[in-house]
C-alpha cells in the first residue's frame, strides 16, 4: 500500500525533475523487486525459456529425435483433434483421474492434518507414519506392492473374502484399474498434509479460545475460523495437486509397465506423450501434446485465480 502511494506521488512530480531523478525514482520503485527476483530471472532466461521456446517450435515440426526437424505447420495439432483416438482416450483417463483423485486426496490430507493438529500425544510419530507412503515416491517397488494388493488373489480380495465377496482382479480389469491408481495417489497424501499442517499452525490459537467461550461448536469453528483462514493453503494445494494430477506420469508408468494397459484404461496424458516421444520417435507430435496440456492447465489455473478473490482470504 505504501509503495503504491509513493508511486502516484512520484508520477505527479515527474515532469519537473531531471532524467537523473527519474531514473533514481524508477530504481527506488522497481529496483528492490528486480534485485530479489534476479536469481530467478537468470534461471528463467538461462535455463527455462530456451527449452520452452524450442519445444513450442518443435510442436510445429516432425522432429523424430534422430534427424533434423522439418516444419509441418499446424498438422500435429490438427491430427490431435481429428484423427487420434488414443488422444481422446488419454484425455478421458486424465480428466477422470484429476476429478476424483484431487478432491479425495485433499480432503483426506486436511482431515488427517486436523486430527494431528489437536495436540495429541505421539504427533511426530503419526505424522512420520502418514508421510511414509509418499517417501516411496516413484520407486519400482510400488509396482510390485500394488500387484500384491490388487491382483485377483491379492490382499484386498483376501480381506473381502471374509465377507463372502469375490473381488475381481482390480489392477488388471479395465473397469477398475484406474481406481487403483487413484487409491495410490490418495495413499501418498503426505505433501499436502504437511502443507496443511504448517498452515493450521499459523492460525492464532486465541481465535479458537474466543470462539469456544462464545459457545461455538467444533463444526462451526471449523467452518468459521479454520477454513477461511486456511483458504490460501487450500488454494495452493488445490492448484498444485491439480497441476500434478494433470502431469501425473510415474504411477501409471510403473504400474502398467509403460503401456497404459489394460485397454488404455490407465493411459495418462503424459504417458501417451512419453510413448509418442521416446517409444515411437514422434517428438514433434509429443511437443504439440505438451503444449496443449499446458494450455489446458493454464486455463484451469487462470480460472482458479480469477475466482479466488471470492473465496481465498489473504491477510491484506
Amino acid at each position: 500500500m505504501t509503495a503504491s502511494s509513493l508511486e502516484s506521488g512520484s508520477r505527479g512530480a515527474g515532469n519537473k525533475v531531471g532524467t537523473r531523478n527519474v531514473l533514481a525514482k524508477i530504481w527506488q520503485q522497481d529496483g528492490p523487486g528486480y534485485m530479489f527476483l534476479l536469481p530467478w530471472l537468470i534461471g528463467f532466461f538461462g535455463l527455462t525459456v530456451g527449452p520452452m521456446v524450442t519445444s513450442l517450435y518443435l510442436s510445429f515440426t516432425d522432429f523424430d529425435l534422430l534427424t533434423d526437424p522439418n516444419w509441418v505447420g499446424a498438422s500435429n495439432y490438427v491430427r490431435m483433434f481429428t484423427a487420434d483416438p488414443k488422444f481422446a482416450a488419454a484425455m478421458r483417463v486424465t480428466f477422470f483421474f484429476v476429478i476424483f483423485s484431487v478432491p479425495l486426496k485433499l480432503a483426506f490430507a486436511l482431515l488427517v492434518a486436523m486430527l494431528l493438529n489437536r495436540g495429541l500425544r505421539g504427533l511426530p510419530l503419526y505424522r512420520a507414519i502418514f508421510y511414509l507412503p509418499s517417501l516411496l515416491g516413484t520407486s519400482v517397488a510400488i509396482a510390485i506392492l500394488w500387484r500384491q494388493l490388487f491382483a485377483g488373489d491379492g490382499l484386498v480380495n483376501q480381506f473381502l473374502a471374509n465377507f463372502g465377496i469375490d473381488g475381481p482382479s482390480w489392477i488388471s480389469n479395465p473397469r477398475y484399474s484406474l481406481w487403483t491408481l487413484i487409491v495410490l495417489s490418495v495413499w501418498q497424501f503426505g505433501s499436502p498434509m504437511i502443507i496443511f499442517l504448517a498452515g493450521l499452525r499459523q492460525i492464532p490459537q486465541d481465535m479458537y479460545e474466543a470462539a469456544s467461550l462464545d459457545g461455538a461448536s467444533k463444526f462451526r469453528q471449523f467452518y468459521k475460523i479454520t477454513l477461511p483462514l486456511l483458504t490460501p493453503v487450500v488454494f495452493f494445494n488445490a492448484i498444485v495437486q491439480t497441476i500434478e494430477a494433470f502431469k501425473s506420469f510415474t504411477p501409471a508408468f510403473v504400474i502398467s509397465g509403460g503401456t497404459g494397459a489394460p485397454i488404455n484404461s490407465t493411459l495418462f496424458y503424459t504417458l501417451y506423450l512419453y510413448q509418442e516421444a521416446f517409444g515411437f520417435f514422434r517428438m514433434g507430435y509429443a511437443s504439440a501434446l505438451a503444449w496443449f496440456l499446458l494450455a489446458m492447465i493454464a486455463a484451469f489455473t487462470a480460472f482458479s485465480f480469477l475466482t479466488s478473490k471470492y473465496w481465498v482470504h489473504y491477510d491484506d
Binding site: L66, S172, G257, Q275, F278
Partner: protein, 430 residues
C-alpha cells in the same frame, strides 16, 4: 574451451558447489583412445561385458567406458543422447529399433570394416543377414535365439500328462488344457497368446504368410486376423487359457508378473534365451519346447532371431576402434568364455565349438533347442518396418484385451486390427 572452464569455475566458486566438487564434478573431455559403450541388461550381463572390455583394453590399449541400464530407461537415454549429438560409440541395438536408427543415420554402416577389422568368415549367414538394413550391415548379432514355449515340467507331472514337445499342435494344447481342468492343480495349461506378436507371426509363417512383407506392408489380411482371434476366443470359452484379468497382470514389465511365474498357467510363449532367467525365479523345474504347430507336420514358423546387436554410432569419431571392439566381442574365444550364452547362442562357429563343453544344463537345453529346430525352422523374415513396435504395443495387445474382456467380437477385432495396422504403417512411411 577456456571460456567454458572459466564459467564452470566461476559457478563452482560462486556457490556452495565447492563442497561437492571433490566427488562428482569432473570436467567432460573427449578423451582420445577411449570409446563409450551403452547397453541394457542386469548386473550379470554387465559383469561379463566389463570383463571383456577390460580384456580388450589390456590387449589393445583402447579403453571402453561401459554403462548399462534397464530396458525402458535405456531407450530414453539413448534417444536423448542421440538427439544431443552425444551418442555412445558402441550401443546395444534391438531388432525392433535397428531400422529406425539405421534409416535415420543414427548408426553407421559397417561394411567398410568387414574383412579387415571385422572378421565374419564363419559367422552364421542368417545372423549377418539379420543385421542388414537396405543391403548395408548396421548391426553385429551378439547371439541367436528363438521363440519357445516355456513349460513348467513339475506342473505337467502333477497333472500326470506328458509335457509338450516339438510335435505338439494347437489341438493337442486344447486336450492338455482339459486334462489340467479336470485335475485339482488350480492352474491353466496355457496363457493367453492372442496378443503376443511373435506367436501370431509364427502361426502366420506356418501358413506360408508373414507379419510384414519386405516392402513394409502387412503380410496377411482380415480373414487371418479374424481366424487368429477366433481361435483364441474358442480356447478362452473352453476355459483352456487364463482369464482376461489374469493375463492383463502381465504388462510386459518384468519376468515376475508373467503367468508361469505367477503360477496361473503351466506354459506360455517366451524365448529360448530366457529359460535360465526364469528358472532362477522358480523352484519348479522348467524347460522349453517349440511353439505349437497348426497341424501335424506343418513347420517353418520358427527362425533364429538375432537376440541383440552391437551397432556403432553414426556420430562416432572413433568408428574403427569401435568396430575393433565389436569384432573382439564376437570372435575372441577368451571373451566368449567370459560372455557365455547370456546374450544368446554365439554366432561364430569357432566360438560356439569352444564354448559348448562348458555350459550348465539349462544353457545347454537352450543351445540344443536353437541348434535343432530342423523342420520347424523357416527363412529369416525381412526386418520389420519402423512402425512394427507401435503396432505390437499399442494395437495388437489392446485389441486382444478388448476381445478378451468382451468389448469386441473376434470378427470386429480382426477387422479393427488390420485397419489400424495399415493406418499406422502408412503414417510412419509418410
Amino acid at each position: 574451451m577456456t571460456l567454458r572452464l572459466n564459467r564452470r569455475r566461476f559457478l563452482m566458486g560462486s556457490s556452495a558447489l565447492m563442497a561437492a566438487g571433490a566427488v562428482g564434478l569432473r570436467p567432460v573431455l573427449a578423451q582420445d583412445g577411449r570409446i563409450r559403450l551403452l547397453f541394457w541388461g542386469g548386473q550379470d550381463r554387465a559383469d561379463r561385458t566389463y570383463g571383456v572390455s577390460d580384456l580388450f583394453e589390456s590387449q589393445t590399449g583402447a579403453a571402453v567406458d561401459g554403462e548399462f541400464l534397464g530396458w525402458g530407461d535405456y531407450w530414453t537415454k539413448l534417444g536423448t543422447q542421440t538427439a544431443g549429438g552425444n551418442a555412445p560409440d558402441v550401443m546395444q541395438m534391438d531388432y525392433r529399433y535397428i531400422v529406425e536408427y539405421a534409416t535415420r543415420g543414427a548408426i553407421a554402416p559397417l561394411d567398410e570394416f568387414v574383412g579387415e577389422v571385422l572378421e565374419l568368415a564363419d559367422f552364421d549367414a542368417d545372423q549377418i543377414e539379420g543385421g542388414r538394413v537396405n543391403d548395408q550391415l548396421y548391426g553385429i548379432s551378439l547371439g541367436a535365439n528363438s521363440v519357445a514355449m516355456l513349460n513348467n515340467l513339475s506342473a505337467f507331472e502333477q497333472v500326470g500328462i506328458d509335457p509338450p514337445d516339438r510335435n505338439t499342435t494347437y489341438a493337442d494344447w486344447r486336450e492338455m488344457g482339459e486334462a489340467f481342468n479336470s485335475s485339482d492343480i488350480g492352474m491353466k495349461a496355457l496363457s493367453d497368446g492372442s496378443g503376443v506378436e511373435p506367436m501370431l507371426d509364427n502361426w502366420l509363417r506356418q501358413q506360408g504368410l508373414m507379419l510384414y512383407t519386405a516392402d513394409g506392408e502387412l503380410g496377411f489380411g482380415e480373414d487371418e486376423a479374424v481366424e487368429w482371434f477366433r481361435m483364441w476366443q474358442e480356447l478362452r470359452e473352453a476355459d483352456i487359457i487364463v482369464s482376461a484379468e489374469q493375463q492383463a497382470l502381465d504388462t510386459g514389465g518384468g519376468l515376475e508378473a508373467t503367468m508361469v511365474v505367477q503360477k496361473l498357467s503351466a506354459s506360455m510363449p517366451s524365448n529360448s534365451n530366457q529359460l535360465v532367467a526364469y528358472q532362477s525365479l522358480m523352484e519348479d523345474d522348467l524347460s522349453i519346447s517349440s511353439y505349437p504347430r497348426i497341424e501335424p507336420g506343418s513347420g517353418g514358423g520358427h527362425y533364429r532371431k538375432p537376440s541383440m546387436f552391437f551397432s556403432v554410432a553414426g556420430s562416432s569419431s572413433a568408428k574403427e576402434t569401435a568396430a575393433r571392439f565389436v569384432n573382439f566381442f564376437v570372435n575372441d574365444v577368451e571373451a566368449a568364455e567370459i560372455l557365455g550364452v547370456e546374450r544368446g547362442i554365439p554366432c561364430a562357429e569357432h566360438v560356439r565349438e569352444a564354448l559348448a563343453p562348458q555350459l550348465d544344463e539349462k544353457s545347454r537345453i537352450a543351445l540344443e533347442f536353437v541348434a535343432n529346430l530342423d523342420d520347424l525352422l523357416g527363412p529369416l523374415p525381412p526386418p520389420p518396418p519402423p512402425a512394427a513396435g507401435e503396432i505390437d504395443s499399442s494395437l495388437l495387445r489392446t485389441i486382444s484385451q478388448e476381445i478378451a474382456f468382451g468389448a469386441r467380437s473376434p470378427e470386429d477385432g480382426g477387422r479393427a486390427f488390420v485397419e489400424g495396422a495399415r493406418d499406422i504403417l502408412s503414417r510412419a512411411s509418410s
